[in-house]
């Protein structure tokens, strides 16, 4: 077993190299790459600063251009550039963001808590609603309750989380209809000066809608997974045996069947870490939340490739580790499983 997981961890390395190599290749051959973007920024700010400059182009001396190219390793063959990038990565150096003028690591870690905050709350709420709902639907299979909630499940599957968030913002954000919730953001301005009670209500006020948007993504699939898993287990022989020896329905379902039917839910937990930590580009953009997802989106728009690659590295590692974690959980909760 230990050998199996050791091998899995070793296999992370080629997979990780493959992914980063692919994306690095893409970003290296970009027209409008980092240097062009920088020059454009300089021209824009020069135009604003110069008195009646009329957008006169800022001439970059060839020597400075060469220095810039050297700085971004664009003068080297791109295998070498990738090698340098990888070597720096091994030393936990993801480079410097040209937009924020800070090390990429600092830019990313400063955004992490916000994404994790929303991700974790959404995750716990989703699981604590979907599991009881799925169980109840399975027990009452075919009842009016089951059919009625199935409609909400279908509806939840038919609307992407960010779209629901946007719809709620338009309806409740005060533009046209009801002014109940703020238009996104993480906290109100001047939050630090609020009293403790005000601080809490303000935070909840800003949290409710985004969390709803996060939840709807997993709501449908998680509920159905729970329901089907329990239904499948209810038809097993051991359930017949348990009933035959005279156990009450309550004991059979909650003591025996539920535990077995939670196995597929548990193994999904590993994949969830990627979702929790990485945030959602779309939801964070809709709600103007300054998390990892929004950072990823703006860095792509600004062609801040050091940050783009940094986020890719973290995302990829989370997905890969999450996959392994899922397998570990699988073994832990189901003793019948043996990987070798």
């Amino acid at each position: 077993m230990a050998a199996y997981f050791a091998r899995r961890f070793l296999l992370l390395i080629p997979t990780f190299l493959g992914i980063t190599f692919l994306v690095f290749t893409i970003t290296q051959f970009v027209p409008g790459g980092p240097i062009e973007q920088m020059i454009m920024n300089m021209q824009a700010s020069g135009g604003e600063g110069g008195a009646g400059g009329g957008g006169a182009a800022v001439e970059i001396p060839p020597a400075a251009m060469e220095a810039l190219r050297e700085h971004f390793n664009l003068d080297k063959p791109f295998f070498v550039a990738y090698g340098i990038w990888l070597w720096d990565l091994l030393h936990l150096d993801l480079g410097v963001s040209f937009k924020y003028n800070q090390p990429v690591i600092d830019v990313i870690t400063s955004r992490f808590p916000i994404s994790i905050y929303f991700g974790l709350i959404g995750f716990f709420l989703a699981y604590s609603i979907c599991i009881p709902l799925g169980v109840f639907k399975a027990i009452k299979h075919g009842s009016a309750f089951d059919i009625g909630t199935s409609m909400t499940v279908f509806a939840g599957y038919s609307i992407p989380g960010w779209a629901l968030g946007g719809l709620l913002l338009v309806l409740l954000g005060g533009g046209s209809f009801f002014d109940v919730f703020p238009l996104g953001g993480f906290r109100s301005e001047g939050w630090e000066d609020f009293g403790i009670w005000h601080k809490m209500t303000d935070q909840v006020h800003h949290t409710l809608l985004p969390v709803l948007a996060y939840m709807v993504g997993s709501f449908a699939s998680l509920t159905i997974l729970m329901k089907n898993s329990l239904m499948e287990n209810l038809g097993q022989d051991y359930v017949r045996t348990a009933f035959a020896k005279g156990l009450s329905e309550r004991t059979v379902i909650f003591g025996h069947t539920l535990r077995n039917s939670l196995i597929p839910i548990c193994t999904g937990l590993g994949h969830a870490i990627g979702i929790i930590m990485a945030g959602s580009y779309l939801i964070e953009k809709v709600f103007n939340i300054n998390g990892i997802g929004y950072l990823g989106y703006t860095s792509i728009v600004d062609r801040d490739y050091a940050v783009v690659m940094g986020i890719l590295v973290i995302n990829t590692l989370l997905v890969l580790v999450g996959n392994i974690l899922s397998d570990v959980l699988y073994v832990l909760v189901d003793p019948r499983i043996r990987f070798s």
Partner: protein, 374 residues
């Protein structure tokens, strides 16, 4: 005599026919299927339903059919204003230049009363046409729904209903293309890995793993921020990520079917690999692939809307749901709710129908019978 009766008996239904019949009995899915297919077919008639060009123009005894030309790719439907005798509203003594404007033309014909007439399309606005220059256009774009523009106009003064309708056709076409191409790739790769097994499988699985661990949406955004996608490129970008899911299903099915007796039988009578794969295994391996298809379509449609919303989707001025939502959400206090509510309503309705179809197909192809013991 006994033989005769057996010959009279109807040919037994194939499994596909039986599943099709079962699918038809599931009303919610069946009616969604009819409605969606009907709407999609109808959307190909959009040039004569929702168009700024007139259906028929009768000018000095001659008939012109400008809108019909839009239906057929190889015809030319452009008529200049001079050709049809359209005068410049600001200088009534002079003919207008450029392409004819048919709503204006109708007004002038009716006013002059010379026996010329124009038959406009039922909803006479084109999705890419800005109404800002119209004399009757009042207010600032985006304007709210009114009697003329039923769902309002967007921030460039284009009709929202027209953009939604054309956007529907593009969204469905896009999703169908993505699913078709990714199925072709995914099924071939999955079938090859599953059938040949061994080293091919181990090596192939590593490559698939690399592909599958890529942050999908993020990578798609990176690529389309670089290459300025059009419809073909965007379909290709999504298809190169979408095939992975199908290939897993296909590989599993082929692995399982390969070990069954009928395959051993086929091998022993000397059938070629290709014949075994396509004639024998493939029909048995289709169930999970078919029941997954509607959900792949849901994924395709929502990916397009998401990318359009982020601004990495189809180029301007393609009618797009996501772009409208982006306009509406960019400035919520301005109160352009119709730019968010209507496109998202269209998205929700479309996806709900596809989900209903998917649920019915799954029920027909892969019925789960739960025995409840107690």
């Amino acid at each position: 005599m006994a033989n005769d009766t057996t010959q009279v008996e109807a040919k037994p239904l194939s499994i596909l026919q039986r599943r099709w019949r079962k699918f038809k009995t599931l009303k919610r899915g069946w009616y969604s299927f009819l409605a969606l297919v009907g709407l999609y077919l109808l959307s190909f008639l959009l040039p004569i339903l929702i168009n700024s060009k007139a259906l028929v123009v009768s000018y000095e005894g001659e008939l012109y059919f400008p809108a019909v030309a839009d239906l057929l790719p190889f015809t030319e439907g452009h008529y200049s204003a001079e050709e049809l005798g359209l005068y410049d509203p600001r200088r009534p003594d002079r003919l207008m230049r450029g392409e004819a404007r048919y709503r204006l033309l109708q007004e002038q014909y009716e006013a002059s009363d010379e026996g010329n007439w124009v038959l406009l399309a039922p909803y006479p606005y084109h999705p890419n046409e800005s109404l800002l220059k119209e004399a009757s256009f009042t207010g600032h774009p985006p304007t709210k729904p009114d009697a003329r523009n039923w769902l309002g106009t967007d921030d460039r003064g284009r009709d929202v209903l027209a953009r939604l309708a054309y956007g529907f056709r593009i969204s469905i076409t896009f999703a169908l293309l993505v699913v078709a191409i990714s199925y072709l790739i995914g099924m071939s790769i999955g079938a090859t890995l599953g059938f040949f097994g061994g080293r091919v499988d181990i090596f192939g699985q590593r490559l698939v793993e690399i592909w599958a661990a890529m942050p999908f949406l993020y990578t798609v955004i990176i690529i389309s921020s670089i290459v300025q996608p059009n419809l073909k490129i965007l379909v290709a970008i999504l298809a190169i990520f979408y095939w992975i899911g199908i290939s897993f299903y296909m590989r599993g099915e082929f692995l399982r079917e390969k070990s069954k007796d009928y395959v051993a039988g086929a091998i022993s009578i000397g059938e070629s690999n290709a014949a075994i794969m396509f004639k024998h295994i493939l029909p048995n391996a289709l169930t999970p692939v078919i029941s997954f298809a509607p959900f792949a379509i849901v994924g395709g449609i929502s990916s397009l809307v998401s990318l359009d919303y982020l601004g990495f989707g189809l180029p301007h001025p393609t009618p797009s749901w996501g772009e409208l939502v982006g306009q509406g959400l960019a400035n919520i206090p301005a109160g352009a709710w119709h730019l968010v509510v209507f496109p998202l309503g269209a998205l929700f309705g479309t996806l709900l129908m596809v989900v209903f179809i998917g649920e019915a197909i799954r029920e027909a192809f892969d019925p789960k019978v739960f025995s409840r013991l107690r």
